[in-house]
């Protein structure tokens, strides 16, 4: 089977409130990826548009974007799996290219969350869970992940300080990322001082500093067949493995509360397809919507045994110089989390790393990179492995 490559990546700056419409926001990530790949719109044979619905007013954004981005009359369609939408979009693009239906496909993720209030967006996010049986209790994303944090602490002795260390790492790199929404330093003192905003309670045991910020943003990944990649691209990054999994939406239907079964299953598939294991990964982007999510990702992806994720952050093994650098672009925690754009942004970071074009956050000569992107509260899991 021939290979499939990523030949261009781009993202907008992630901002608190984008001063424009969703199609203009989508243009920002698209423009950067097209310039990166040195393509013109005629070269794009199809587009896949990814977001989670109900944050902005545009229904069926795919057709609107295709026109605005100059992609008529090529086909376009919409893919949604909440926060992992653009990783699912990558999966679709891979299938379109591998099937021979198209040679070059653009995966465009976007989210404009600032058109509604924070309480409204929490209500929308809460309805990404079981609206019949859970949402009537007043659920929201931080509280669900907080339940995983509490269970992880009870089972494995993980502490609030361990979680704070993950936030401190994110801010270390967020300060270096000119696309990040949060570029300030965060210290352990911030998270432990009762008067500090970062230590403010959200959903126990999670504090403000344990949660990523909503943001507006867009991303774009351009996927090509091996033949086209050889023509268009000096440094193609190859898609080596793709995994995707689901589980019960209601927590009542699950058996594991110290990790995400979707991440374990998706990574098993991706490692198998790529023919590699956790020890082969040189750089990773994981879905740290909350600090506990990164902790569980260390274990779910096999970077640490269950319960031992805390040792990785305590020893700084997941810093840029460590043996498994994770989220050295600031992660969702500092970069911000514009839901549908997040997966594409994670892929962009790993592609730039593998091309050794990551600037101040470049890790040393990475050969293989991994992206872990989760939708909902571990409802959808996508793990993708890339190589140069």
């Amino acid at each position: 089977m021939s290979r499939v490559a990523i030949i261009g990546v781009g993202q907008s700056e992630f901002v608190r409130a984008y001063p424009g419409s969703v199609r203009e926001l989508a243009f920002e990530g698209f423009k950067e990826a097209m310039r990166d790949a040195r393509l013109t719109t005629k070269d794009i044979q199809a587009s896949v548009i990814c977001s989670a619905p109900e944050y902005d007013k545009q229904r069926s954004p795919a057709g609107v974007f295709a026109e605005y981005l100059g992609l008529n009359p090529q086909p376009t369609f919409y893919v949604e799996s909440l926060c992992s939408s653009s990783s699912m979009g990558l999966r679709m693009a891979y299938a379109l290219v591998q099937s021979g239906l198209h040679d070059v496909v653009a995966v465009i993720g976007f989210q404009k969350m600032s058109e509604i209030s924070s309480a409204e967006s929490q209500e929308r996010m809460g309805r990404g869970a079981d609206i019949q049986w859970e949402s009537p209790f007043g659920t929201m994303m931080p509280a669900y992940y907080a339940m995983y944090a509490r269970a992880h602490m009870a089972a494995h002795g993980t502490t609030l300080e361990d979680l704070a260390l993950i936030r401190v790492k994110a801010s270390t790199y967020g300060q270096l990322n000119d696309k990040a929404v949060y570029r300030k330093a965060v210290t352990l003192a911030n998270l432990s001082h009762p008067e500090d905003r970062m230590a403010g309670p959200v959903a126990s045991p999670l504090r403000v500093g344990d949660c990523c910020a909503n943001a507006d943003g867009s991303s774009c990944v351009i996927v090509a067949s091996e033949e086209k990649a050889r023509v268009y691209c000096q440094k193609p990054v190859w898609i080596l493995g793709l995994g995707a999994a689901t589980t019960s939406v209601n927590l009542a239907g699950r058996d594991l509360f110290t990790g995400l079964t979707v991440a374990r299953e998706a990574s098993r598939q991706a490692y198998k397809m790529a023919g590699v294991g956790p020890k082969d990964i040189d750089v990773a982007e994981v879905h740290d919507c909350f600090t506990i999510a990164e902790m569980m990702a260390y274990e779910d992806l096999g970077f640490a045994k269950p319960g031992e994720g805390k040792e990785l952050i305590r020893s700084k093994a997941t810093y840029k110089e460590g043996h498994i650098p994770v989220n050295v672009d600031g992660g969702l925690l500092s970069k911000g989390h514009p839901i549908g754009a997040t997966g594409g942004s994670q892929i962009r970071t790993v592609v730039l790393q593998l091309r050794e074009e990551a600037g101040p956050i470049q890790v040393k000569s990475p050969e293989i990179g991994l992206v872990h992107n989760i939708g909902g509260v571990g409802l959808y899991g996508n793990v993708s492995i890339f190589g140069r």
Binding site: A119, F137, G138, A151, A203, S204
Partner: protein
């Protein structure tokens, strides 16, 4: 002129804000009114469902009977919300939680009267029906 058919919207009564009105499991609300929390069991294969559902994916059939959730479960985890989503701000603070009954689990809230200092993962709790100040019905977990 045809008479307008009345729809069975009992499920609108579930929780502070219900996002569902029509469901084949509407009888759940009648059980709550009578002080009972009920799940469903497939009459063909015996599989137990909580939350209740009308259809069994294992048998591809819809032959369900109701059973009562009784006894106590173990607290799997919980979180106290200091900030509520739209529609729930007046309830804050409140704790969401999950109880493990062995054959099934129940997702809900911890009762307001349970002292925070006495709540711990692994403790036994039971599920009781609760009437909210706005007249809506839900269920909460209290010490067993």
């Amino acid at each position: 002129m045809a008479e307008k058919k009345e729809s069975d919207e009992r499920f609108k009564k579930f929780g502070t804000v219900s996002f569902t009105s029509l469901t084949k499991t509407n009888d759940f609300i009648d059980y709550l009114e009578k002080g009972t929390i009920a799940g469903t069991r497939c009459k063909d294969c015996g599989r137990v469902f909580f939350p209740p559902r009308a259809d069994c994916f294992q048998c591809l059939a819809s032959h369900m009977e109701w059973f009562e959730v009784t006894g106590s479960g173990t607290l799997v985890s919980f979180s106290k919300l200091e900030y509520g989503p739209a529609g729930f701000q007046e309830d804050v603070p409140y704790s969401i939680a999950l109880l493990d009954y062995g054959k099934f689990k129940v997702f809900g809230r911890i009762g307001k009267d349970v002292p925070a200092t006495e709540i711990a993962v692994g403790m036994p709790m039971k599920t009781i029906v609760n009437r909210l100040p706005n007249g809506q019905l839900n269920y909460v977990f209290v010490k067993a």
